[in-house]
Symmetry: C2
Subunit: 304 residues, 2 copies
Amino acid sequence: MSQSSTISVCIIGLGSMGMGAALSCINAGLSTYGVDLNPAALTSLRQAGAIDAQSDASAFAAKLDAVLLLVVNAMQVKQILFGERGLAAQLPAGTAVMVSSTISAQDAQSIAQQLEHYQLIMLDAPVSGGAVKAAAGEMTVMASGSTLAFEKLKPVLDAIASQVYCIGETIGLGSTVKIIHQLLAGVHIAAGAEAMAMAARAGIPLDTMYDVVTHAAGNSWMFENRMRHVIDGDYSPKSTVDIFVKDLGLVSDTAKSLNFPLPLASTALTMFTSASNAGLGEQDDSAVIKIFSGIALPEKQESH
Amino acid sequence: MSQSSTISVCIIGLGSMGMGAALSCINAGLSTYGVDLNPAALTSLRQAGAIDAQSDASAFAAKLDAVLLLVVNAMQVKQILFGERGLAAQLPAGTAVMVSSTISAQDAQSIAQQLEHYQLIMLDAPVSGGAVKAAAGEMTVMASGSTLAFEKLKPVLDAIASQVYCIGETIGLGSTVKIIHQLLAGVHIAAGAEAMAMAARAGIPLDTMYDVVTHAAGNSWMFENRMRHVIDGDYSPKSTVDIFVKDLGLVSDTAKSLNFPLPLASTALTMFTSASNAGLGEQDDSAVIKIFSGIALPEKQESH
């Protein structure tokens, strides 16, 4: 094994993406640690071959060469790194911290500055691809940071990603690319919902409408993936309405800081916010279709 | 050759889609006629093997088993069929008329009723796929009409389409499916423009942004196709801004008749209308990105 395969990495946040990344690190032969508040995730990761998995990284922080943060938002990232018993103070100088949560460019820059005080190196490295790709070590990473940060994290990037985009050296560019990506993802889900709701209203069979669109120029990755949930009447969450309330909120914040108008994304944010306000926040993001009244949507076929 | 390959069909409207359809009919061995106001298109079709091609179908109307209309809008369809020297009065009873222009469900129904007076059979059959697929005989057809209409037009459908969706028997359903498809197509182009404009504003290299999106869940068919034109700075029209002003106008009219709100499509219509109002109507539809100020977009590399 090359030296690069022997580094020690801790994945913090073992949700669907983080767990996939952690398993990919184990599969790549890295010394892998995990942190989460959910005991089931910790047990599962230990059984899969992690060296250790705890609700807190204190026990093994001193051994780490790299940290990968895949928690929900910037507040959690800051809390973990700089809060009470903050990890930043426990990591060896020179440890590389890969921040892969979807956060604003401003938050990415402020986190990088704080890490610098501890002589820690940050990669601003949001990810995309969903749970299936994460589990296969085939995430897409859109990253910005120093050459040193990319070099130090190369074994981790090799383990978890099939595609790594180097956007530039400036911290914040990676986050901005992810946010603009989320603009498209969110608008496409909301547009898919609008189109399928109109089809329902017009008496078009939804499976026919789905079939036409997915074989024609009106298709999008999100339409094909999410409108399948609508046809199945299955709103069990893969990714929730509230995640797009958050992500399109970041899109909106970023546009505001650029003094830039976003006619469609602001409308899509209103649609997801309406859905959340109607009590659908924890459902699959395709449940944004339920903001339209006066239509009959397919119901889930229960197995008996 | 089977009997079905010997029917006589006239394609009216020899633009990029109509010409592709006409050539596909010739390739399939159908007795093919063409009508257009552009003499160059008529010469080109005759050279490709059409039996005749004229600015008016009067000379061969009595020989036709089928007519395929691929003109710009409902007004042209009505003018050709029912205007001065209207074709409907010249066609043999029982001729099948396939209306493939993008029109409203209401127009489709009114055209079908008028055709009935002449004992002509209508298929409400909008198409999708673009010029390349049309030339290859691989259009997508979304059609509604009687079983008889589908049967009579089978040789034509076989010649021009790789996929034929039978939406139902009711005239208007085919048009509605196409209109809902155009809702998605138009919103996706406008969303792509919004995202790329924001990337330009944020200092993200547009080719990198394009590369990330086209390899991730934010992709759409339209993003991948149209934002390439933006990166190339090439707004020579494949399909124009004004076509989406028209098509999203049909989306809006249809929604109004259904008393149904369309938050995103109405916003996209405003964006294309703004572009048209700014003098960009005849440019490629990707030129909708030019409604955003304060950004530098790529310019076309001139060959020397």
